[in-house]
Amino acid sequence: MICPECNQENYNGARFCSKCGNEMNAAVATIPDENKGLSRTITFFLVLLAYVMILHFIGPVKNYKQSLLIDVLFASIVLIFFALNFRKTIELFKLPKKSPGVFAAIIVGAPFFGLIIFFLSGFLNGYLFGTVDEPHYRLFANSPSPILFTIISVGVFPAVFEEIACRGIMFNNLEKIAGVWPTIILTAIIFTMLHLSLLSALWIFPVGILFGMLRARYNTLWYGIIGHFLYNSSIVFFEILL
């Protein structure tokens, strides 16, 4: 709000100018953008949580068609909120400036981290729960191209739409209120929580922090999408190979 007397910029809704004390007309208090952003972020999170919760109540997926349907549903929810936050989020799809070092680190680091987590999760599941992880590709065994469909469902869909959701839409809205580093941590927590597994939080949270840092530093979603895709896809390949 600009004071009409001295042109000092004041807080939205201020009744008096902080510089000259002029009583400002009660301008219609419009809800600041950041309030809308916070409400949208929380609504978005709760919608995604409800979606994940409904999936768990429905029960395990039985075939590749159901799996793809679930992926498409998730993508649709994200795209709706993407449309509501289109202008700010589409900017994050600009190609990043050439950073061969970062790119190389992601290409090498993501599969390497995937290998570590593949063995760690297998060990923890076996030791704590006495179970063995069902390989992802078994679900797609009856599909026209099992490996391709597995990669699309496990690699592409989560990489693109989870990044748009967490490091795109939510990051943009929360950064205005909380600042960069708190937003990186907050979006990593949201990203972790949406997987609904406290144990997986051990590796999902650091990955969320890393992708958040890449998003904040380079102002692009591409590094996160590529890293996320390589990490998820590498786990599928390790399941096939090992």
């Binding site: 009744r15 008096f16 949580l49 909380a178 708190p182 907050l186 949406l194």
Partner: protein, 156 residues
């Protein structure tokens, strides 16, 4: 001038109220951390077969809440909002395991959620109000004693 002073007093009162909401939310974070730890220890003692699962999940949950409680001293908004998210998700995970848990302790759950919501809103608002009051304090036009008539010592 009097209207301005009343405005400042109201803002200060609001700041106190918002800061109080932040403190309550912080206390809730620490209490939840302690409760998670306590419950996991009791469950591990009772159920020997799954004791490691109870202990590990309890320690992880307690660490998360305690870390958020400590972080809330520096960044109350982000920490309290994170605590709210973690709490909601923990309720969802429990509900998936046993849907009856949705109704158990419902009043406490509503109270905790309310504390978190007032907490993160209070954190966001208190930052703004504090910054606004600071800006008023630094305003150059209010430097002579005449201008400060009616204002008590240290009011701004």
């Amino acid at each position: 001038m009097q209207a301005f002073l009343n405005y400042v007093r109201r803002k200060k009162s609001l700041l106190t109220e918002k800061t109080g909401a932040v403190k309550k939310a912080r206390n809730v974070l620490f209490i939840l951390g302690a409760l998670n730890l306590l419950v996991s220890i009791i469950a591990a003692t009772v159920d020997n077969e799954n004791k490691y699962i109870y202990l590990i999940t309890g320690i992880i949950a307690a660490s998360v809440y305690f870390s958020l409680g400590l972080w809330s001293r520096k960044n109350p908004f982000a920490a309290i909002l994170s605590g709210f998210i973690v709490f909601i998700v923990s309720m969802v995970i429990n509900a998936i395991g046993d849907p009856n848990t949705i109704y158990q302790g419902l009043i406490w759950k509503i109270a905790i959620i309310a504390a978190f919501v007032y907490g993160y809103k209070g954190a966001r608002d208190s930052d703004k109000i504090a910054a606004e009051l600071k800006q008023m304090k630094e305003a150059k036009d209010f430097t002579t004693e005449n201008d400060l008539s009616g204002m008590q010592s240290g009011e701004l």
